[in-house]
């Protein structure tokens, strides 16, 4: 199971549609302060089901919709799609690919699609669970948070081992 590409449109500062192709190995994202690098990583965790607006630096989930700039008006909707490559015969695999899409509208409610078909969040969660693609506590380290593994409570460290078990 591999990430193949991410399509973002209207998510935070990615007002215009952007496609990111992932290869194997290491993909580096670079650029000046405030240009959108962390926003891009948040689009990944968001499309894979992140439910906490706070962990996306927002107050409500609506905060991830493009809010306008000096030149541009705010949008009414934000969206991202993650396309995954799988082995043939993989559950939900549509010709070797799985597409997970999430939309959020003003008002904050999210819509999920699996290979284009509207589904409930639960189905996305089950899929992520089965594929091992669900965001484990140790698969995303947010900016400034690397130290938390060490300074966190003993029970939080236990959770890391439990997730790996």
């Amino acid at each position: 199971l591999k990430l193949e590409r991410l399509e973002i449109s209207g998510f935070k500062s990615f007002v215009d549609p952007v496609t990111v192709h992932f290869a194997g190995g290491i993909t580096a994202i670079v650029g000046p302060n405030g240009c959108g690098k962390s926003n891009l990583s948040e689009a990944i965790t968001w499309v894979l089901g992140e439910q906490s607006a706070k962990s996306l630096r927002g107050g409500t989930m609506e905060d991830v919709i493009f809010n306008g700039s000096e030149q541009r008006k705010p949008l009414g909707m934000g969206e991202a799609s993650m396309i995954l490559r799988t082995d043939p015969g993989f559950p939900h695999s549509d010709d070797g690919r799985i597409t997970i899409t999430r939309r959020v509208f003003r008002g904050g409610e999210s819509q999920y699609r699996l290979n284009g078909k509207l589904v409930r969040l639960k189905e996305i969660k089950d899929l992520l669970m089965d594929t091992g693609l669900g965001i484990r506590a140790y698969s995303v380290i947010e900016q400034g948070k690397i130290g938390l593994i060490l300074s966190g409570k003993p029970q939080e460290r236990r959770k890391l081992i439990e997730e790996a078990a």
Partner: protein, 163 residues
């Protein structure tokens, strides 16, 4: 199950000690159950001792040492049970150049079994990436993606000193 937790704990602990010793070029690190009478519920504490130094309260370590220790534990978890992908947002920010080089060495090995997405300002980290994307805001407030070649990265005044 209690047994699977115990097996995982031992496995991650071994990888943690080895990865720490590799990143620090010596020293030792391990996890311990706070209460080994209660393995089903007990929290976990971390002990780490950089080479040449004495074992102390973890919090007395430096910013860079803490980051490197956390990276060692992170990679140990991955060795035990790889995630398909891993996102690292500026984890190299507190590291000096020597430690950044040690970090990307291990990162490169880990990337055989895991797709890494690494956000960084550090050219040493960029240099080991197979794919390099630049995010820009030519129009203010609007993010755009561009592909970047390593040669394009301006060789400006070096930033991090090895005094």
């Amino acid at each position: 199950s209690a047994e699977r937790f115990a097996t995982t704990f031992v496995e991650v602990n071994k990888a943690f000690g080895e990865t720490f010793a590799r990143l620090f070029r010596g020293g030792e690190a391990e996890m311990r159950l706070l209460d080994d009478e209660d393995p089903l519920e007990s929290g976990i504490e971390i002990l780490a001792r950089p080479p040449g130094k004495r074992l102390q309260n973890l919090m007395l370590m430096s910013g860079g040492e803490k980051a490197l220790t956390a990276i060692a534990l992170l990679f140990a978890l991955f060795k035990s049970k790889p995630s398909p992908f891993c996102i690292l947002d500026e984890v190299d920010a507190p590291l000096d150049d020597v430690n950044t080089t040690r970090f990307v060495d291990v990162l490169r090995d880990m990337s055989d079994s895991t797709q890494f997405i690494v956000i960084t300002h550090n050219k040493l980290t960029m240099a080991v990436a197979g794919t390099l994307y630049g995010v820009t805001m030519e129009e203010k407030g609007v993010s755009k993606l561009v592909s970047v070649e390593m040669e394009e990265i301006q060789p400006e005044e070096p930033r991090r000193a090895t005094a």
